[in-house]
């Protein structure tokens, strides 16, 4: 039986514009999402800002209702059987919010253990274990307000695990973390999955999903565009190679000119500190580098690299140019 099953899930939000003549506007956050996630799976959801990742996470975690469609967690309806679902799921959102800053890390865990009705003798044993797991044992008695962002994020993970949930929702858990802290957190996620937890992970970072997940869904504008294993998704770009050209001040019309080249499959431009990175997907072995450089005549080029495509390139191809600007 699937741990998560959604059918034609929709969610809209209403916003208003204007002060005197207020107009209501409906925003579609989810537009007919079908998902099926098996026990023990580490499932990744990838998409740009506003794709609907957080919305679907909140609906499945029972803190938001869908507008229409159905969703089941452990075979239980997320609207009618909330009480049976909540003790079995853990929920962690990215960012620094979601903790009591004036309390110590340990007090936070103790409080959430109470809220989840964890027996005191179990909580007494589990809290030090979790603090050890997330590497927070030595700072557990300090107030949360003095923690770094990475420490808060690790404490979030421990908080989400305090009642030993079978299913764990992680909504962009590594957002804003430095590379080392993010790597440590990914290792924790991997270990949790190896311990048998089903994990629903949303992320901006393609390499993170590639490194961790068994299956991945790419989402944009409230729809699932594609769902498969990371290696299968990479086949979308299997016969391509990526030409990366780092340059300074490339005009928009030149980007469009390259994009309209018949051999080019996708173009993405990424703003670096001082320069731009132009990523061009084109058939492997097409020997197009000189042609592209010719098109960039007059633009200062710093570096040119040709490489094999990654999941990130597959994502760019699927979501389009906007996909990378997350």
């Amino acid at each position: 039986m699937a741990v998560i099953l959604t059918q034609n899930l929709h969610r809209t939000f209403q916003t208003t514009t204007g002060i005197i003549r207020r107009k209501k506007k409906e925003i579609v956050a989810l537009d007919g999402v079908d998902l099926s996630i098996e026990p023990g799976e580490l499932f990744g959801l990838l998409g740009p800002n506003g794709a609907g990742k957080t919305t679907i996470t909140r609906i499945l975690a029972t803190v938001l209702l869908p507008t229409s469609g159905s969703a089941q967690v452990f075979g239980l309806d997320i609207i009618k059987e909330v009480k049976a679902i909540r003790p079995r799921i853990g929920l962690v959102f990215g960012g620094e919010r979601g903790l009591y800053w004036r309390l110590s890390g340990k007090d936070n865990l103790q409080y959430f253990a109470d809220l989840y009705k964890v027996p005191p003798e179990v909580a007494k044993k589990r809290i030090p274990e979790l603090l050890e797991l997330v590497g927070m044992a030595d700072r557990a008695n300090e107030r949360v307000e003095g923690y770094s962002r990475g420490m808060k994020q690790r404490l979030h993970i421990a908080r989400g695990l305090i009642h030993d949930p079978e299913l764990f929702f992680l909504d962009e858990p590594t957002i804003g973390l430095d590379p080392l802290a993010a790597r440590d957190l990914r290792e924790v996620i991997r270990r949790l999955n190896q311990a048998g937890k089903t994990i629903f992970l949303t992320s901006h970072y393609m390499f993170e999903i590639d490194a961790l997940c068994h299956r991945v869904a790419v989402m944009d504008k409230g729809k699932i565009l594609v769902m498969d294993t990371p290696s299968a998704l990479k086949k979308v770009v299997a016969n391509l190679e990526v030409v990366e050209i780092e340059c300074f001040g490339i005009p928009r019309e030149l980007v469009e000119k390259i994009r309209s080249h018949p051999a080019v499959q996708a173009v993405n431009i990424e703003q670096l500190d001082q320069s731009q990175m132009l990523q061009i997907q084109a058939p492997a072995g097409a020997e197009l580098v000189q042609e592209f450089l010719g098109m960039l005549n007059g633009v200062q080029v710093r570096k040119v690299v040709t490489r094999q495509p990654t999941l990130e390139d597959a994502y760019v191809k699927l979501v389009g140019e906007g996909g990378k600007k997350v």
């Binding site: 929920l91 979601g98 800053w101 009705k117």
Partner: protein, 264 residues
């Protein structure tokens, strides 16, 4: 199973109280509403009666002002609790937990209410120091029982108002306005006898009315049957809790439907 469930719920209640007290002691806002506000209210209220040559109402002004401070403190801190949960991003996490939100807030609000008894002490002290009023309590036992009951009951009434904060971040504005009629109708700022008769049923439905009667009577004389007043407070507390129970279930549903739990 039911006994284990009850024990777990009581543990949440107890720990919510402890957590809230820990959180309060480092909050400047709490100190301001607990100390500064009662001092100012007492000076205005007692000063008005003395200026109007009604010194016999001085004690009435002090108990009334004490209850106003407890009510204000409870209402705003309870509202602030949810607002803070919203701001810190813990509201949706708390709602996602199996413990009902009302149980959590009852514990936290009661912690605030217990601490806010200090406000009653501050009003008495202000009356004694600022106006040299000879203040004594004729029946300390009745006064103390009445105070504990009314504090608990005000907590329950505060929860009814506090439910609004779950559904919208703008509840503070409504509560600020709704706050005044409660203490006017309860006879805390002016004696009930000065209010029109048609307001009496409304006054009866507000627990500070009965609390004020007990505290006033116990402060000036040691005799008198307080049982009806106690029963009113207990009965009203039960009614408030039932109303709050239904309200929280409803507003939680509405907040989940509107997707407003994360707005702050």
């Amino acid at each position: 199973m039911k006994a284990a469930h009850l024990r777990a719920t009581l543990r949440v209640l107890g720990n919510s109280i402890v957590l809230q007290v820990k959180d309060n002691v480092v909050s400047n806002y709490f100190i301001a509403t607990l100390v500064m506000q009662p001092v100012i209210f007492t000076i205005i209220s007692v000063g008005t009666y003395l200026y109007g040559h009604k010194p016999d109402l001085g004690l009435f002004a002090i108990t009334g002002t004490g209850l106003i401070s407890i009510w204000n403190n409870n209402l705003f801190i309870s509202g602030e609790l949810i607002r803070r949960e919203r701001r810190t991003g813990t509201l949706s996490l708390v709602i996602a937990a199996p413990t009902p939100l009302l149980v959590i807030l009852l514990g936290k609000s009661f912690a605030n209410a217990i601490t806010s008894v200090l406000a009653m002490g501050v009003t008495f002290l202000t009356g004694m120091i600022a106006f040299r009023l000879p203040i004594g309590i004729a029946d300390p036992l009745v006064f103390s029982i009445g105070l504990v009951l009314v504090v608990f009951s005000i907590t329950c009434l505060g929860l009814v108002f506090g439910s609004l904060f779950v559904i919208t971040r703008n509840a503070g504005e409504f509560v600020s306005v709704a706050n005044f009629p409660v203490y006017i109708l309860s006879g805390l700022s002016v004696p009930l006898t000065l209010l029109p008769l048609w307001t009496r049923p409304l006054s009866n439905f507000l627990t500070p009315t009965w609390g004020n009667k007990i505290l006033n009577q116990a402060a000036v004389q040691s005799s008198g049957n307080m049982l009806p007043n106690y029963l009113w407070i207990v009965g009203l507390s039960a009614i408030y809790l039932v109303i709050a129970w239904f309200l929280y279930r409803r507003v939680e549903y509405l907040a989940l439907r509107a997707g407003t739990l994360e707005q702050w």
